[in-house]
Amino acid sequence: MINQLSWKVGGQQGEGIDSAGETLATVLNRQGYFLFGYRHFSSRIKGGHSNTKIRISTAPTSSISDDLDILVAFDQETIDLNAYELIDGGVILADAKFNPTVPEGIKAHLIAVPLTKIAEEVGMAQMKNMVAVGASVALLGISVESFREVLTDRFAKKGQQVIDKNMDAITRGIEFVKTEISNLSIQDFTLAPSDGKKRLYMIGNDAIAFGAVAGGARLMAAYPITPSSEIMEYLIRRLPEFGGTVVQTEDEIAAITMTIGANYGGVRTLTASAGPGLSLMTEAIGLAGMTEQPCVIIDTQRGGPSTGLPTKQEQSDILAMLYSTHGEIPKIVIAPSSVEECFYDTIEAFNLAEEYQCPVIIVTDLALSLGKQTVEPLDYSKIEIRRGKLVTDEEELPELENSELFPRYGFSEDGISRRVLPGKKHGLHHVTGVEHNETGRPFEGAVNRKKMMDKRLSKLNNLSFPNPIHADTRHEDADILIVGVNSTYGTIQEAMSRLEADGLKVNHAHVRQLMPFPTNLLKEQMEKAKKVIVVENNATGQLTSLIKMNVGMAEKLVHVGKYDGNPFLPMEIYKECKELLVHGNV
């Protein structure tokens, strides 16, 4: 019995790869195993190699693994592209239909399973993915009956026959492989028992979308784009029961400006996109900053520039999210590092947007937005809605004299003014992107200009966001501090454990608040290490530059970038750190 293994299924896009991974993972999740997934896919609907890799463990895991134990292949390309990941003694379960072969030098067992043939016997060739699931289950040693509930949930609408056929496909897959392996001497892949606890299994985008509903968002305006579309798709399903809706706009400029308009109207509203969409939104983000409208914007980073690598991992929007609007505005940029944080941070983003009356950008990356992971049950009691200095419906405002206006932009100690919503009696005021006075009237006077700029920019001086950095400080005099952002959290943690096992002293700081930058908190961490290695999925070292600019200590900083479209593996971070030490840089 083993405590953790990695399983991958691959083939041509459209062959049921996602569905195979999803079915197996849902069953394992319900049994209490911890899962961590990553989808490798292309920007096309049919064809092109695609795969899903899932790490299965009896203990919490928050990273994909370096290697692979079981590879399920629907075509030879899957074997050729992925077999190098297999451990010695790993297993390839391949469709017998294409006469699979193992590339030279790969020490894995090949089991040719008549996936297509069995599926055809069951009655539907496309059920080969379920036969493949069965084949895998034979190795993992979980019971076939555990699939009935999951398949019933999924196919209830399609009828009992479809459920039975799927069960039949899985059963036959199990039986075939059981017979085959009885004659082979292969390693035991039987999973050790899990703790059996109930947990959730979600992608970051699910958590953001659910967090938006929990955080009181009732409108969304968005334009479809990978890898953010799941957010709008979830909300269009769910918002109607709360009276709200999603508007699929004509472009991202409409998405952000509609979001601003709806927030001005008083409804918590969000938009979500990726790099190309965020580029289009930048002018309007400035409008939100200038007119002090709350709004929440999600940027699910993918490979850039331009169309770049639309379905691949990258963290190259960091500086654009901080600085891409013209002029200077208050803006909050937060970066969750797990699916769970995607949920709570989204709720908090809506609170901060209203409290500080400014745009809040939540930055994720593709691996976090689309990677499916086990999540501890989310806590209803932690949901809190705070609306800042919003004038409530009940409050009566003093009467305004003829054509006098409400001081919507009134100066105050903390720079934050009382916010009144259109429709409110005696609340009339003007809103404009032009520099304005306290009632919102255009006013270019130099004294007022400076005062207004100072008011807006000072709003974030007292910003309080929970855990601006995650610090895992194990040593007061560390050899290395590894710094990361977003989805690399677990990968860095795993690399760190290996480095520690080698006797190195390693600390980890994960940046969660990118703007305003948590300079002092990070500085404290950097002072405790000889070298600071910034791990980020980009070429130019954007987080590294931010640190250099805000904290300094340039001589300590080393940028470790990866920009080939794939997430970091623990081994890669481990190696980079080792090399750095061996070559005497520390």
């Binding site: 929990a214 409108l219 305006a221 009276g243 979001t259 109207g265 054509s403 429709g423 009696k425």
Partner: protein, 288 residues
């Protein structure tokens, strides 16, 4: 009930004397009063340009946004609070150049707002460049040899993309414009009103006199039926678009709000945003 004077404020418009936009401002104020609106029930969302300043000249809620984006801001606002009377406004550059994409899609979407375009066929605030409404051959600072691009025909365009309310008026006709704005606001769904609003400083061709000579009122066309889309299109083509009045109105087409699943009569902004624990548990079960 507020009078039209209560929709006035003390701000002196920074428009040139004689600018057509003054009539639009006065008509709007009268229309709001005639419809029994209170200042706080009205929100004007405008774009950038001389005309964009109009949001600041009405004693109501006003949002002066970015160039070309008054429509998505206005639609977002309306969806947030359907009790508000939302009027989007701007110039022909705002609506038919930089914001044309939004104009077409706002018409398709049919959110219940009114869009008033102050069409002066020139860029005024930037001191006289060609607009998408400038005729071929029109000489401006940016087209010293005359425009070599065809002018957009906004009314025909609106009919083509399925508008439910299409009207045109001119700044010399305060009464007619007021009536049209009232009708546009009352219309359930998106209403587009194009106003020939002469720029007295930079457009020396399309002047008040020019419009007087060239515009035909639909009232003068015997048997004109604004519910007949084919006739509307044909009439526009016969008159090169130079007509005034309600060109087309479809009272059957439901507004976007009427078609949103689960969208309530009570404005969204008034609804409780807290989830109950029961709702939370139900939502979370999807991920178990």
């Amino acid at each position: 009930m507020a009078t039209f004077k209560e929709f006035r404020n003390k701000v002196k418009p920074n428009w040139c004397p004689g600018c057509g936009d003054f009539t639009v401002l006065a008509s709007m104020q009268r229309a709001f009063a005639n419809l029994g609106k209170e200042p706080e029930e009205v929100a004007i969302v405008s774009g950038i340009g001389c005309s964009g300043r109009i949001a600041g000249y009405v004693n109501s809620y006003g949002f002066h946004g970015v160039h070309g984006r008054s429509l998505p801001i206005a639609q977002g606002l309306k969806l947030a609070n359907r009790d508000l009377t939302v009027v989007a406004s701007g110039g022909d550059g705002d609506g038919f150049a930089i914001g044309m994409g939004h104009t077409v899609h706002a018409i398709r979407r049919n959110v219940d707002i009114t869009y008033i375009v102050m069409d002066n066929q020139i860029y005024g605030l930037t001191k006289g460049q060609t607009s998408p409404r400038s005729e071929m051959g029109f000489k401006t600072k940016s087209t010293p040899n005359g425009s070599i691009e065809a002018a957009i025909s906004p009314m025909e365009m609106a009919l083509t993309v399925g508008a439910g309310f299409v009207a045109q008026t001119v700044s010399s006709d305060l009464k007619g414009m007021t009536a049209i704005i009232e009708a546009g606001i009352k219309h359930k769904g998106f209403s587009l009103i194009n106003v020939y609003s002469p720029c007295v400083t930079y457009n020396k061709i399309n002047t008040y006199d020019w419009f007087k000579q060239n515009l035909t009122s639909l009232d003068e066309i015997e048997g004109y039926d604004p519910s007949n889309r084919g006739q509307a299109m044909q009439t526009l083509m016969e008159h090169s678009g130079l007509v005034t009045g309600i060109i087309y109105q479809n009272t059957e087409r439901p507004s976007y709000e009427e078609l949103i699943k689960g969208y309530k009569e009570e404005p969204l902004v008034k609804q409780d945003i807290n989830l109950t624990e029961e709702q939370f548990d139900r939502l979370i079960s999807e991920f178990a």
